[in-house]
C-alpha cells in the first residue's frame, strides 16, 4: 500500500521510501519522514493537488504523485 491509499485520519507506518528521487528523499528524511515512522494523512487538496500528512508531531505537505512513492502499512 502507498501513502495516497490511506484514508484521511487513519494512521500507518512507513515501510519504504526508496522509490523517490534522491533530492526529495533527502529532504523528507531531514524532515523526519523515514522508514518506521508513523504517518497520518490530514487532508488532500482538490484536482490532484498536494496532500498534508502528519509525521512525528509535525505537518508536512507534499505532492500527491510523490506521496504515491511512499510505501506504508
Amino acid at each position: 500500500m502507498v501513502l495516497t491509499d490511506l484514508q484521511p485520519g487513519k494512521r500507518a507506518t512507513i515501510t519504504n521510501i526508496s522509490m523517490m528521487s534522491d533530492i526529495l528523499k533527502q529532504r523528507l528524511i531531514d524532515m523526519g519522514v523515514h522508514e518506521g515512522e508513523e504517518v497520518c494523512v490530514k487532508c488532500t487538496m482538490p484536482f490532484g493537488g498536494p496532500v498534508m500528512v502528519e509525521v512525528a508531531g509535525q505537518c508536512i505537505c507534499l505532492r500527491r504523485k510523490e506521496a504515491a512513492c511512499i510505501g506504508v502499512e
Binding site: 526508496s18 529532504r27 531531514d30 523515514h34 487532508c43 488532500t44 482538490p46 498536494p50 498534508m52 505532492r63
Partner: protein, 667 residues
C-alpha cells in the same frame, strides 16, 4: 572580537533569539525560510559578534539559502556555535546538533519553544540532556526573551571539551579512517567531520576539498562504501544508514530525557486547519482575506486617514513653511523649489503612508500567523500547472509589500529554474510603491469603486504573471524535475509587539525612500520643469521636462495617454514607482491631492486612467528591484530580459485595455 554563529532547523526561532541577544530587529516570521542571508549583530554586552544564518535541516544544502549556512561553516572563522533546538521537535532537531558537534567547535544548545513543548505535555530533563551531549543546554523562550542572561553567561564561559563522537558501524568507521588519512594535515576543519560529510555526499564540502586535493580517491571510497551498505539486509543507502545511526542514538537519549505527562488532544492548529486548508474552502478563504485587506486599505480605513494627512500637508504645513521662508527672506526661486518641488513631490507621496502601513500590517499578520505555508499548499496545484511550485507563491506575497525582499525570498526554492522563473516574474506583483499611483487615480476617476478597481489591478498582475510563467516554462525555461515539499508550522498567535515591529520595519523603508529617492527625484524634476531651452522660469510646456516627456508622447498615444506629462512621469517612475505621483504633483502644480484629481480629468478619461495604471503596474521593475535581480541571478542577460519583457507586456496589455475599451464603447 569573538564570533558566535547561530545554527538550527528552519523556523525554530533563531532570528527571534538573535534579536533578543543583540537588540536588533531582523525579519521574523512563522514559516521555514524567513532568513535567507547572513546577518551580523553585536551582543548586548558588546564583547562578541553574533551571526544569524538561514535555517537548515542538515549541513548538506539543497537550496541557495541553506548553502549560505554550510559555506559559513567551511569558510569563515568563528569561535562558538549556538545551536537553537526546537524543544517540541527534539528528535528531528538533534540530527543537526550531532552534525554540528562532529564539527568540533565549542557549542551551546539553546532549547527554545519550551512553552510549546510544555503545552504538548513534554517534560525535558535539561541536565541529563546536557550530560548526554557533553555541552551546556539552556532552556529559553526566544519570543519573549526568557533565559537570555543565562545563555549569554554560558556562551561566554563555554570551552572546548573533549570532542563528541558518535560511533557508526565498522564499514563506515573504516571509510572515515581512510578518507581522513587522505586529507592533508594542515586542513583547518575537523577531519572526521569532513570525512562524514563526504560520505553524506555534501557537494559544498567536495568543492571545499577540491581546491586542496584530488577528489577522486574520496569519491571512490564513498562509492565502495555505498555498495557494501546496499549489500546489508535492509538495503538502505549510505545516507539513510548514517541517519539511522543518529536516529538510534537520539531515540535512546530521548527515552532518558523526555517524560510525556499527558496525551495531547486536538490542538487549535488542527481545528483551524480543518477550515482554512479545507478541500473546497481553502482558495475562497484566501481570496476573501485579500478582499478584506483591500477594503480596509482603500475604503474603510485607509482613504479617510490619507485625506486627513493631505489636508494637513496642503493647509497648515504649506502655510507655515511659506511664512517661514518669507520671514527668512528666501529668494523666489528657493520658495518655489520648496513649495512646488519638495512639498508637492514628497508630500504627495507621504499622504499615502496610512494606506501603506495598513497593507504592511496585513502582510505581517500573514507572515507571523503561520498561514503563509498554507497558502503555498493551497496554491501548489495551480502553480504546478504553470511550471512552478507552491513555494513560489511565498515570494510573490512578500512582493506585494516590496519586490526586493520578494526576489530575495526566492532563494528557498530548490530547483534553480523554478527559482529563476519566480525572480523574473516577481516584479509583476503589485508592490506598495505602486499603491500611491492607484490611490491617486482611483480617487479621481473611480470614486465609487475604489477597492474593486485596485483589487482588479492586483489580480491583473497575478494573472499576467501566471500566464507568462506558463509561457516561459514551456519555452525558454523548461524544468527538468519540479518538486514541492513544505513544512506547515503550527499557528501562533501573532504578538502585538512583533506585528508592530515588522509593520514598522517595512514601512520605514517607504518613509526613508521618501526622504532620499523621492526627495532627490522631486528636486530634479522641479528643476527640469523650471528650466528650459530658452532659460529659467519658463512656462511648463517649454521646459526640459516637457521636451523629454514629449519624445515618449507619440509612442504612448495608442495607449490613451499620449501627453508629455504622462511620458515624463513614467520615465521618472523607473527610480521608484511612487515618483510617478511626485512628478504629477509637480507638473500639475497643485497644492493638494483633491485639486490634482480634479485637474487630471482634463488629461485622462476613466478608460485611459485604467490603462495608465495597468502600464505603471507592469512596465519595468524599479531601480532597486533591477539591482537585486542582477545580484540574485548573477546574470546581466536575465536582468535585461526582466526589463524587456515587462515593457513589452505592459505595452500590449495597456493597448488591449484602451483599444478594447473604446471598441466596447467605454471612455
Amino acid at each position: 572580537m569573538s564570533q558566535i554563529a547561530l545554527f538550527g532547523n528552519p523556523n525554530t526561532g533563531k532570528t527571534s533569539l538573535f534579536n533578543n541577544l543583540t537588540g536588533s530587529y531582523e525579519y521574523v516570521g512563522n514559516w521555514s525560510g524567513v532568513t535567507v542571508e547572513k546577518k551580523v549583530g553585536i551582543l548586548r554586552s558588546r564583547d562578541a559578534y553574533v551571526v544569524d544564518l538561514p535555517g537548515v535541516y542538515s549541513l548538506h544544502p539543497l537550496s541557495r539559502d541553506e548553502g549560505v549556512a554550510t559555506d559559513f561553516l567551511l569558510t569563515e572563522s568563528f569561535s562558538t556555535i549556538l545551536n537553537i533546538v526546537d524543544a517540541s521537535q527534539l528528535k528531528r532537531n538533534l540530527h543537526l546538533t550531532i552534525q554540528l558537534l562532529e564539527f568540533g567547535k565549542p557549542l551551546v544548545i539553546a532549547l527554545n519553544m519550551i512553552d510549546v513543548a510544555e503545552r504538548r505535555g513534554m517534560k525535558i530533563d535539561v541536565k541529563k540532556l546536557a550530560d548526554r551531549f557533553g555541552v551546556p543546554v539552556v532552556p529559553v523562550v526566544a519570543r519573549i526573551g526568557k533565559g537570555m542572561d543565562e545563555l549569554t553567561e554560558k556562551l561566554r564561559s563555554v570551552e572546548q571539551t573533549k570532542p563528541f563522537t558518535l560511533t557508526y558501524d565498522d564499514v563506515i568507521e573504516t571509510a572515515i579512517a581512510t578518507i581522513s588519512s587522505y586529507l592533508p594535515d594542515d586542513i583547518e576543519r575537523s577531519k572526521r567531520w569532513l570525512a562524514l560529510q563526504c560520505l553524506e555526499g555534501n557537494e559544498r564540502v567536495y568543492e571545499y576539498l577540491r581546491a586542496k586535493i584530488a577528489l577522486e580517491p574520496i569519491l571512490a571510497i564513498r562509492k565502495q562504501t555505498e555498495e557494501s551498505i546496499r549489500q546489508l539486509p535492509h538495503g538502505r543507502s549510505l545516507r539513510e544508514r548514517l541517519h539511522h545511526f543518529r536516529e538510534t542514538f537520539i531515540e535512546a537519549v530521548l527515552e532518558d530525557v523526555v517524560v510525556w505527562t499527558e496525551k495531547r488532544s486536538l490542538t487549535w492548529t488542527e481545528k483551524i486547519d480543518a477550515i482554512v486548508t479545507n478541500k473546497y474552502l481553502g482558495m475562497p478563504i484566501f481570496l476573501f482575506f485579500m478582499y478584506v485587506m483591500f477594503m480596509l486599505t482603500f475604503d474603510w480605513l485607509g482613504s479617510p486617514l490619507a485625506d486627513l494627512l493631505d489636508q494637513f500637508f496642503s493647509g497648515p504645513l504649506t502655510d507655515t513653511l511659506s511664512r517661514l521662508l518669507t520671514a527668512m527672506g528666501a529668494s523666489g526661486f528657493l520658495q518655489e523649489l520648496v513649495l512646488n518641488g519638495i512639498v508637492s513631490g514628497v508630500g504627495g507621496v507621504l499622504v499615502f503612508v496610512p494606506q501603506i502601513f495598513i497593507l504592511f500590517f496585513f502582510i505581517s499578520l500573514l507572515e507571523d500567523s503561520g498561514y503563509m505555508a498554507r497558502v503555498a499548499m493551497v496554491m501548489d496545484r495551480l502553480m504546478e500547472a504553470i511550471g512552478l511550485n507552491g513555494k513560489s507563491f511565498i515570494p510573490m506575497i512578500i512582493g506585494f509589500g516590496c519586490n526586493v525582499p520578494g526576489v530575495m525570498a526566492a532563494r528557498t526554492i530548490e530547483q534553480p529554474r523554478e527559482r529563476l522563473l519566480t525572480i523574473l516574474l516577481l516584479p509583476l506583483m503589485s508592490c506598495s510603491a505602486r499603491l500611491p499611483v492607484y490611490a491617486l487615480f482611483v480617487g479621481a476617476f473611480f470614486k465609487a469603486h475604489q477597492a474593486a478597481v485596485v483589487f482588479s489591478l492586483y489580480v491583473l498582475g497575478i494573472v499576467v504573471a501566471l500566464l507568462l510563467a506558463k509561457l516561459f516554462s514551456s519555452t525558454i525555461l523548461k524544468n527538468e524535475h519540479s518538486m514541492f515539499v513544505i513544512e506547515l508550522p503550527p499557528y501562533r498567535m501573532p504578538q502585538a509587539l512583533t506585528l508592530w515591529r515588522s509593520t514598522w520595519d517595512k514601512g520605514k523603508g517607504f518613509v526613508r525612500k521618501a526622504g532620499t529617492f523621492i526627495f532627490g527625484g522631486s528636486v530634479a524634476i522641479w528643476l527640469l520643469s523650471y528650466a528650459g531651452p530658452k532659460g529659467l522660469h519658463v512656462s511648463m510646456d517649454d521646459s526640459f521636462l516637457a521636451a523629454i516627456g514629449g519624445v515618449l508622447a507619440p509612442i504612448l498615444a495608442p495607449l490613451g495617454f499620449g501627453t508629455w506629462q504622462a511620458g515624463a512621469a513614467l520615465l521618472t517612475g523607473f527610480l521608484a514607482k511612487e515618483v510617478v505621483v511626485s512628478t504629477m504633483n509637480i507638473i500639475y502644480h497643485v497644492k493638494d491631492t483633491d485639486t490634482l484629481q480634479g485637474l487630471m480629468a482634463h488629461y485622462f478619461t476613466p478608460l485611459s486612467a485604467f490603462s495608465f495604471m495597468a502600464f505603471v503596474l507592469l512596465y519595468v521593475p524599479c531601480l532597486a528591484t533591477v539591482a537585486t535581480i542582477r545580484k540574485e541571478t548573477g546574470s546581466t542577460k536575465w536582468t535585461l530580459f526582466a526589463i524587456g519583457y515587462a515593457l513589452a507586456i505592459a505595452y500590449i496589455i495597456s493597448f488591449l485595455i484602451y483599444e478594447g475599451g473604446k471598441w466596447l464603447g467605454l471612455s
